[in-house]
């Protein structure tokens, strides 16, 4: 069964999912609307943001063309994943593997990083000195 899965470590707390979700029914942006299917719980001191999903993923409407819930389409970091359990597990493994190659994937999911030509690797080119320092 397809579901919206959450990778908490990637959430940057922007509340785009929550804000957009609240508007889909009646065109009013109100993140506090009780009908909103996803909420971001902000931990004190800006330390962590935790998405809480209370929605099956069957959107009122999806604004993307990729047949995904709106929140998943819009999430800038890739913290939301839509699919069955195996798919979600595969995404998590992909992220864990990517994190071993570069610190960039602490902040963005590898499937959101767009260009093969720009996919950074450790200790290449001019970054070498910085690499040695580590």
């Amino acid at each position: 069964m397809k579901k919206i899965h959450v990778i908490e470590d990637l959430c940057n707390g922007c509340r785009l999912c929550q804000t957009f979700c609240s508007s889909l029914k009646n065109g009013v942006f109100n993140p506090d609307d009780p009908q909103t299917g996803i909420r971001i719980l902000k931990m004190p001191g800006e330390e962590q943001d935790i998405p809480l999903v209370q929605c099956s993923g069957a959107c009122v409407r999806s604004i993307g063309e990729d047949d995904q819930p709106t929140c998943v389409t819009l999430c800038p970091t890739g913290a939301l994943v839509y699919g069955n359990l195996d798919f979600a597990r595969a995404r998590r493994l992909e992220l864990a593997a990517a994190r071993k190659t570069h610190g960039l994937f602490k902040v963005v999911a590898p499937w959101k990083w767009p260009f093969a030509w720009a996919k950074p690797r450790k200790g290449t080119g001019k970054g070498e000195e910085g690499g040695k320092e580590r």
Partner: protein, 647 residues
């Protein structure tokens, strides 16, 4: 439920403790849009020339605009007042305060008067309450945040506050929010401190209705495509969006655009530079990404933590590009941990990082050249390379608390060099009394012109991004179709004075619009810098006001002219639009960067004034231009104040 045509202003008088909420004229939304635009209008109308910046008559404005609360607003908030240096003090900051304020039914707050004891302002769904803040006075930013959160016991209350630096009227201190967001470095925090206003807290429960939701969705999808890291055509978008700002330190260094050792040199040792750039920062210190409200970029901001060594356990966030550039090369300091801690301390004490970095660099140069000695610096060995780390960190605290040697630096570079004398004026990198930012000028004439003419003192966000886009992405014909007559290949050449006036004029106007909507200028790269159609569509969909594109652009021109009118009314003239003495008089021969010659600079300045139709002699906007923009009353006001307004 808010619609977006009529905007409201909450007027607060701290002397009489009275507040009242009133609407602004409806036509202002089309004419000035909002946020920065409406602040410029209010500032010109309500703060007469000669007002004492620290007196009760200076007004502090904090406000948002018609697009805030929708996902385009990005949480941007403008703060404005008359700067203690006499200029306009206006700054934009992100976070979550803006949308919360709008949802509380308030678009702008205008704060007059002076409280007789420390207070904070509590706003909840249109109701305002002035509360006692004696228990918060003197507290650092992080402590204030924690105490207020506990007091108001709601995790979604949003705050703006000042630290001890603002309370002590330390030069250039900004207003903070969410611990590490700050805005208004031209002195908004000082003015807030002079009013004894420690904090503003807001919570709203309303929603924002857009006029044409279907149109909004379409326009948003198009906009998102242009700024998303995966689909944008602009080469810098994915790099900035994911790596975040520190990535440009090395890029600037490769181009000779770094101000090493108080701008005595233009290039930094590559090994040192690599130690403070984005990669080691990401690998070693970043814990997670952070974002402002509804930002489409994944990781423009980050949260970091130092896990070992002498600063173990130090946490913070938002290491902006400028921070490694100014605390690094400017002080010749290649210890990234020290940079993180210095920036973190500035955030905790509510200081402006540029003020602190440039005054420290000034102090270091004075110390190395024998103008200051250990007797002046309370025994601190104030040298480039930062040998005494603990002493330097303590000096930052002393600046905020105005203790000992810190009190001299707390007055800012310009004032401190006047006090010290002995030729130290030359080491003070200031324009209009305000310290520079991180971007070098000898090799980029656009930056040199931009910082010199800015109405708020050096501020690259007035024409962001600092360098025009990549000429390969846009042809001159495309630009002409967008209404910009420009030769981009010439404009993009760093050391060519041609086209700089024109391109700067366009950038200033268009960024004024983006900041007035409000939306974030940091989304703008290359092609989007010349094309405001995505924002135009969104503005129409959200407000339901139909304006054509040229008229929409005119709003930005109005804002720019109002800012200039305020500046000239305070007595600033062409002679004040100058680069710092060092840039104009000292060559850096070993890297091939000669000084910024006065004749070249004057040529660019002429071009800029001519393009704006301002007086070449005085920089006062000309009457026919003001009338064309519907600002005839501004010309009359200037004349009444004894200015010579050319026709």
């Amino acid at each position: 439920m808010r619609d977006n045509k009529v905007q409201t202003i909450l007027r607060v008088d701290l002397s009489t403790a009275k507040t009242c909420l009133e609407p602004l004229p409806e036509e202002w939304t089309a004419k000035y849009i909002g946020c920065r635009g409406i602040h410029s209008r209010l500032l010109f109308d309500e703060v007469p020339p000669g007002t004492d910046p620290f007196g009760p008559d200076n007004v502090l404005y904090i406000g948002t605009g018609p697009l805030e609360g929708t996902p385009i607003g990005m949480g941007r908030l403008s703060v404005a007042c008359k700067s203690p240096r006499g200029t306009v003090a206006e700054g934009s900051c992100g976070g979550f305060f803006g949308p919360e304020l709008r949802r509380a039914g308030i678009d702008y707050i205008a704060i007059r008067g002076k409280a007789d004891r420390p207070v904070y302002l509590w706003l909840c769904d249109g109701k305002a309450e002035i509360r006692d803040a004696r228990h918060l006075w003197g507290r650092k930013i992080n402590e204030t945040d924690a105490l207020l959160r506990e007091e108001l016991s709601d995790p979604d209350v949003q705050f703006r506050y000042i630290g001890p630096a603002g309370e002590n009227l330390v030069h250039s201190s900004p207003i903070f929010g969410n611990r590490d967001n700050s805005g208004g470095r031209a002195g908004c925090g000082e003015v807030m401190g002079s009013k004894k206003l420690k904090a503003i807290a807001v919570r709203g429960s309303g929603g924002i209705r857009v006029a044409d939701y279907e149109g909004f969705l379409k326009a948003y999808q198009h906009f998102r495509q242009r700024v998303d890291i995966a689909t944008s055509r602009d080469v810098w978008t994915p790099i900035w969006g994911a790596y975040g700002a520190p990535v440009i330190v090395r890029v600037f260094n490769d181009q000779g655009g770094i101000m090493t050792r108080n701008a005595q040199e233009m290039h930094w040792d590559e090994e040192k530079c690599n130690r403070v750039s984005a990669e080691p920062y990401l690998e070693k210190y970043v814990t997670r990404a952070k974002a402002c409200f509804c930002c489409p970029l994944p990781a423009c901001k980050k949260q970091h933590e130092i896990r070992s060594g002498p600063f173990q356990g130090f946490r913070g966030g938002n290491l902006w590009a400028a921070i490694p550039s100014v605390f690094g090369p400017l002080l010749d300091n290649d210890d990234l941990e020290l940079i993180i801690v210095m920036a973190g301390m500035c955030n905790q004490y509510g200081l402006d990082v540029f003020h602190v970095a440039y005054t420290l660099a000034w102090g270091m140069e004075c110390f190395e050249k024998g103008i200051l000695t250990r007797a002046d610096t309370d025994g601190l060995e104030l040298r480039f390379g930062c040998p005494d780390k603990a002493g330097l960190l303590d000096l930052i605290r002393k600046i905020a608390m105005r203790e000992g040697f810190g009190d001299l630096l707390a007055r800012g570079c310009a004032e401190a060099s006047r006090v010290v004398g002995k030729g130290s004026e030359k080491f003070a990198l200031v324009i209009k009394g305000q310290e520079l930012e991180a971007i070098a000028q000898r090799n980029s004439y656009m930056v040199a012109l931009g910082v010199a003419v800015s109405e708020v003192g050096p501020d690259h966000t007035r024409w962001y991004p600092p360098h025009p886009g990549h000429p390969g992405l846009l042809k001159n014909e495309d630009l002409a179709r967008l209404g910009v007559q420009l030769d981009l290949s010439k404009a993009a050449q760093g050391r060519n004075p041609e086209e700089k006036g024109k391109v700067l004029r366009w950038f200033t106007i268009s960024r004024a619009i983006v900041e007035s909507l409000p939306s974030c200028v940091f989304l703008i790269r290359d092609t989007l810098g010349f094309d405001l159609h995505p924002w135009h569509d969104l503005f129409q969909a959200v407000t339901g006001i139909q304006v054509d594109y040229t008229e929409f652009i005119r709003a930005g021109e109005r804002v720019m002219n109002l800012d200039r009118a305020f500046l000239v009314r305070e007595g600033f003239r062409r002679a004040d639009d100058r680069p710092p003495l060092r840039m104009a008089t000292e060559d850096v021969p070993e890297f091939g960067y000669p000084k910024l010659d006065a004749s070249i600079f004057d040529r660019m300045l002429d071009d800029y004034y001519r393009a704006n139709e301002w007086s070449l002699k005085t920089s006062i906007p000309r009457r026919h231009k003001l009338e064309e923009l519907g600002l005839g009353d501004v010309a009359t006001n200037l004349e009444k104040c004894g200015m010579e307004v050319e026709t």
